[in-house]
């Protein structure tokens, strides 16, 4: 098959250079896959014409599920018949993207039999992406995947495949077990993940510390950022070691502290922890000397999203500190409260962050039964358009 590859002078240019080449990958797959051969041909055509050649399908999937398969058809099926159908399957990745060679070889063998032999490791949301197969291959692929314990991920108006950083498996900064929490909630909400029942997508992302390696605060509807309530742990000997090895601690660490709560007297580093903003900078710069405290948990934030429809949002604080310990019962109760309110009142394609903007955070908190706290706002309101509720003084004698 490698002998009759289409001519691809444009794409061949992208085999040059030091960064791994996706063109080489497609050509590698083309040795065994007619789909990859035609993909190469169509992509070369896109490069020549400066335009894509795909149509979106909205109906294909595996039986019983409403998510995890993205329908895709070439708009040049006569010219590139082997990619007439080129559907994507999203496969729920294991927490932290850890694998054994044994498990991945089995996955590759299945994809060799049923699809293009091309993948993304991984897609933006975190799934293993199996790139390109025909409608009639979807069900048999799923059947084989099930035998090696890989289930399909989310798409459409459902709980999207949750993802997490590597957390406590290999990071001293992780303030809770991100991989455990991600797995627990993924398993608990299998129905919500596979059967879209929401107004639009809903994402959980778990980062072990405020460095937020999975960009939770920018794209998750519920963002779980690890944090701590007690004092940063300091190894003063290690601090001095950094200084002795030439670090300008005042310039690199202390002057960059957003809480202005650090001081170095030449021998010891002092931190006024009650003013520490838990930003991670000093810990990032001196990982041998400083560690988060031991009273750890997560700040839970709500509502981030990309621009479509009403503009991009960052998540904002919902629960300033939560212990994040299994079985996460009260967390699950809160999640279900949020889903109930949003599913009932949300409009089609309205993310929960947009919903909160529309109905007002105060009303949203009332609806989910959460008390307002000052940690939720950057500052209190600046306008005087306060809506006083009529029964405001009824509870007076309770006070």
């Amino acid at each position: 098959m490698a002998d009759n590859l289409p001519k691809t002078p444009q794409l061949d240019e992208l085999e040059k250079g030091g960064w791994p080449s996706f063109v080489k990958e497609i050509k590698m797959a083309a040795k065994g896959s007619p789909m990859a051969v035609d993909l190469l041909g169509q992509l070369e055509q896109s490069y020549t014409e400066k335009i894509g050649h795909w149509k979106h399908g909205g109906i294909v999937g595996v039986m019983g599920y409403g998510g995890g398969v993205i329908g895709r058809y070439s708009d040049l099926p006569d010219k590139w018949p082997n990619i007439s159908h080129f559907h994507t399957m999203r496969i729920n990745q294991p927490s932290g993207w850890y694998y054994t060679s044994d498990a991945l070889r089995k996955l590759c063998d299945i994809w060799e039999r049923h699809g293009s032999g091309l993948t993304n490791m991984h897609g933006s949301t975190g799934d293993i992406i199996l790139l390109g197969t025909r409608t009639e291959e979807l069900e048999p692929t799923f059947e084989e995947l099930a035998k090696i314990d890989f289930d399909i991920g989310g798409s459409g108006s459902d709980l999207r495949t949750p993802s997490c950083c590597c957390g406590q498996s290999r990071c001293e900064w992780a303030c809770y077990d991100t991989m455990g929490a991600c797995y627990d909630l993924t398993m608990h909400y299998q129905d919500e993940l596979h059967r879209p029942a929401f107004p639009y997508k809903f994402k959980f992302k778990f980062s072990g510390c405020p460095n937020d390696c999975v960009a939770s605060i920018a794209r998750a509807d519920l963002s779980f950022l690890g944090t701590w309530r007690d004092d940063i742990r300091i190894d003063q000997d290690a601090v001095r070691e950094y200084v002795d090895r030439g670090m300008d601690i005042n310039e690199e660490v202390i002057s960059r502290c957003p809480g202005n709560c650090m001081e170095f007297d030449g021998k010891e580093l002092h931190i006024e922890n009650s003013f520490c903003k838990r930003c991670m900078h000093c810990i990032n710069i001196m990982p041998k000397a400083l560690r988060p405290g031991t009273d750890t948990g997560a700040t839970i934030l709500i509502g981030s999203k990309a621009p479509i429809i009403e503009g991009a949002l960052l998540s904002s604080v919902l629960i300033p500190f939560y212990k994040m310990e299994p079985p996460y019962d009260d967390l699950k109760e809160l999640i279900e409260e949020i889903w109930d309110v949003w599913a009932e009142e949300g409009k089609n394609r309205e993310r929960v962050g947009e919903f909160i903007q529309r109905v007002g955070m105060g009303n949203f908190l009332d609806a989910i039964g959460l008390d307002p706290v000052p940690e939720m706002v950057a500052h209190p309101r600046e306008n005087p358009y306060v809506f006083f509720e009529e029964d405001e003084d009824e509870d007076e004698d309770e006070g």
Partner: protein
Amino acid sequence: MKSVDEVADAMYEMVKDAQAVKKKLKPMDLTKAMIATYGDEVDKKLCKAAIKELINSGRCVYTYFGGSFIEIPHREGAAND
């Protein structure tokens, strides 16, 4: 309480009627309509089970057109043979 099958049948009729006028329904539309029609004889949990039955039996499928819907299987505009 209504049975799962009764609710699923009623939902199927709704989907069929909607599709005849090229309207798409979301699971929550069906659930709300069932609660409006049957009152205390149904609840959200029962509706969820009925939707699952509707899908598992193959009478309806989930579709995605800028949001997820429930429809009777059909050939879509974008499909190739």
